[in-house]
């Protein structure tokens, strides 16, 4: 186990190094920070609840651009290794395919968490500047964004383990959209008269990621209570779902013909 971690870590750190050289990362990060700042101007259009609007836009920008970075930087990582044929050099060493994949996942996750931290700092800075409230609720909201990103990075890793970057991006975006719709689909399905539709809706709800579990932005901005148990269950759900996705990704990657 420890030896395996020792092999995963260099791949992860190398992935971080590779990712932070990605120009797209900085472009998206720049837009995210700009959006957080521009929120002040947008909020000035409203004569009431301006601080709330600033924080709504700030948190939405963080979530949107983080996912953008996770998807568009993440999808090409494995494909790039195969394309440049560097994967053969790595796999020729005593590194299993599972360790390679996990190293890539951890590296990308660390990269998106790092940029989440930077965006979070920008958010806190703007909030302090306009005198908007900041409390533990915001920390919980940002923490759960980090857990949501972990699931999204796992989805991107799964698709990039067997697909092209373009298709991986398409599939991951699709899963992201469905992940935020799964609750609505479930409730809509339960209203159907046909039993099979209700079953299908339940099945989809259980299989697709329920990404709304990680969305407590509204509660944070409105100062509503966010119970620790709710955060705890969300973290547990995120960890379990990520593990399942990565297991599937490893299974597929093991059987992939890299020639």
């Amino acid at each position: 186990m420890t030896r395996s971690l020792q092999r995963i870590w260099p791949i992860a750190t190398n992935t971080v190094r590779e990712a932070i050289r990605h120009r797209l990362l900085y472009t998206l990060l720049f837009f995210a920070v700009t959006m957080i700042g521009v929120a002040v101007l947008i909020a000035s259009l409203s004569y009431v609840e301006g601080e709330r609007i600033i924080q709504d836009i700030g948190l939405a920008s963080i979530r949107l651009f983080s996912v953008g970075i996770a998807i568009f930087v993440g999808i090409g990582l494995i494909h790039g290794e195969v394309d440049r044929r560097t994967i053969y050099t790595i796999l020729a060493k005593p590194v299993t395919r599972a360790e390679f994949l996990l190293g890539k996942f951890v590296g990308l996750l660390l990269t998106v968490w790092l940029q989440l931290l930077l965006m979070g700092l920008a958010f806190v800075g703007v909030s302090l500047l306009v005198g908007a409230p900041l409390d533990l609720g915001y920390a919980a909201a940002l923490f759960l964004v980090g857990i949501e990103l972990m699931v999204i990075v796992a989805v991107a890793t799964l698709f990039s383990s067997f697909s092209t970057p373009m298709l991986s991006a398409f599939f991951t975006l699709g899963i992201y959209a469905l992940g935020h719709l799964s609750r609505n689909l479930y409730f809509l399905g339960q209203e159907a008269d046909v039993e099979n539709v209700r079953r299908a809706a339940t099945f989809l709800y259980r299989v697709l990621p329920d990404l709304e579990t990680f969305n407590v932005s509204i509660q944070a901005v409105h100062g509503l209570p966010i119970p620790a148990t709710e955060v705890g269950w969300a973290v547990l759900y995120g960890l379990a779902y990520t593990t399942a996705l990565l297991s599937l990704a490893i299974y597929i990657f093991h059987r992939r013909d890299l020639e």
Binding site: R63, E212, V221
Partner: protein, 369 residues
């Protein structure tokens, strides 16, 4: 000698010629006549190409500016139209908007909230259609993010053009009460709508009674509810209602409307004092007054001094020397400032409108039966 290529010396920047053999020499050190001539031709060619490149760049820039100018001109010919003019289809169904927001409901709600604010900004006259459009916007806002605070009262303030809009505003206010049960202000606006626009005093009393139990609720609310219950709705009550609304409203247009109603109530209260004195005058003198200032004359004047027929908030520059007269059309004491009396607790026009709505409602109900 056949010249096949040329270039610049990296150090001096001077043109170098290269022959088939691949040797290169500095232009200045070229000795043969034919070679110097060839070099001159090459330099001229290079210079021409530089000029051509510069002109091409200039042309490209010119085309770019021209395109920008054309785009701007076309853009200006299509002024942005107000979104309410684009029809109701522009505002999505709240359930659809909720689905399509993909977890970004709060920020989509902010987008529609800003649209609602822009729609009533400036000197826009709020037509019944615009009022209905505002209702749709606030419905989307409060569906996507029910925890918003002000939009519920925004609907209460701006959706008063017809009964349907008032009822929609009341539905939104009730949604606000469900989400913020501890906030007395949504109850208050709902009570005001029932009392002022719909003449439903019993409903207004019930709503205000609930509000009076809430934290930070004004202490006069129970009294207001009691008066509404006894159906003795009067000027004082309308005044208290309006003062509270004025205090809690930030939109300048709405504030002005409340201030104006308060001014009318102030003048009406003075007119009622004069009417009371007139009754006593009749009892004492056995005849009616011929002019209002008769109330201040005689051995025992009934009124020490006539009150101002203009609102006290009116700046001196806008005062127009109004006076109290007995209106020959209805034999009432009126201020020439308004030219009419403020009937009961709402302005005459509002009262007529509310009664009109009530009549229409009765007709609809009768047709339904």
């Amino acid at each position: 000698m056949i010249w096949v290529s040329w270039g610049r010396d990296a150090g001096s920047g001077r043109v170098l010629a290269r022959d088939l053999g691949g040797s290169s020499r500095k232009a200045g050190s070229w000795n043969s006549t034919g070679g110097t001539e060839g070099l001159r031709v090459i330099e001229e060619g290079a210079s021409r190409r530089r000029r051509a490149r510069f002109l091409r760049g200039l042309l490209g820039l010119g085309v770019g500016f021209l395109a920008l100018f054309v785009a701007d001109a076309v853009h200006l010919r299509n002024p942005p139209s107000a979104q309410e003019g684009l029809g109701d289809a522009f505002v999505p169904d709240p359930a659809v908007a909720d689905l399509a927001s993909l977890g970004f409901g709060a920020v989509v709600a902010d987008f529609y909230w800003l649209q609602a604010i822009q729609a009533v900004g400036g000197d826009v006259r709020i037509t019944p259609e615009l009022g209905a459009h505002l209702g749709k916007l606030v419905d989307v806002v409060t569906t996507l993010n029910p925890w918003v605070d002000h939009p519920y009262r925004f609907a209460g303030i701006w959706m008063t053009q017809n009964e349907q809009n008032v009822r929609t505003a009341n539905r939104l206010l009730r949604r606000g009460i469900e989400i913020h049960p501890g906030d007395w202000r949504n109850h208050y606006y709902l009570g005001f709508n029932h009392f002022f626009y719909l003449l439903e005093n019993a409903e207004a009393a019930e709503v205000l009674e609930g509000a009076s139990q809430l934290p930070n609720a004004p202490r006069y609310l129970p009294r207001l509810a009691a008066r509404l219950k006894s159906e003795s709705a009067d000027l004082d009550m309308a005044s208290v209602f309006l003062q509270e609304l004025l205090r809690g409203t930030q939109g300048e247009a709405a504030r002005e409307s409340y201030r104006s109603a308060l001014d009318e109530i102030e003048v009406e209260q003075r007119a009622r004092q004069l009417e009371a004195a007139r009754v006593r005058f009749r009892e004492l003198e056995g005849r009616d007054i011929e002019a209002v200032d008769e109330l201040t004359r005689g051995a025992k004047p009934l009124v020490g001094e006539l009150p101002s027929p203009e609102p006290s908030s009116l700046p001196a520059s806008l005062r127009r020397g109004s006076e109290w007269i007995v209106d020959p059309s209805n034999n009432q004491i009126v201020s020439t400032y308004y030219g009419r009396r403020y009937q009961l607790h709402v302005p005459a026009s509002d009262r007529e409108r509310a009664e009109g709505w009530a009549r229409e409602r009765e007709l609809r109900e009768a047709a339904g039966r």
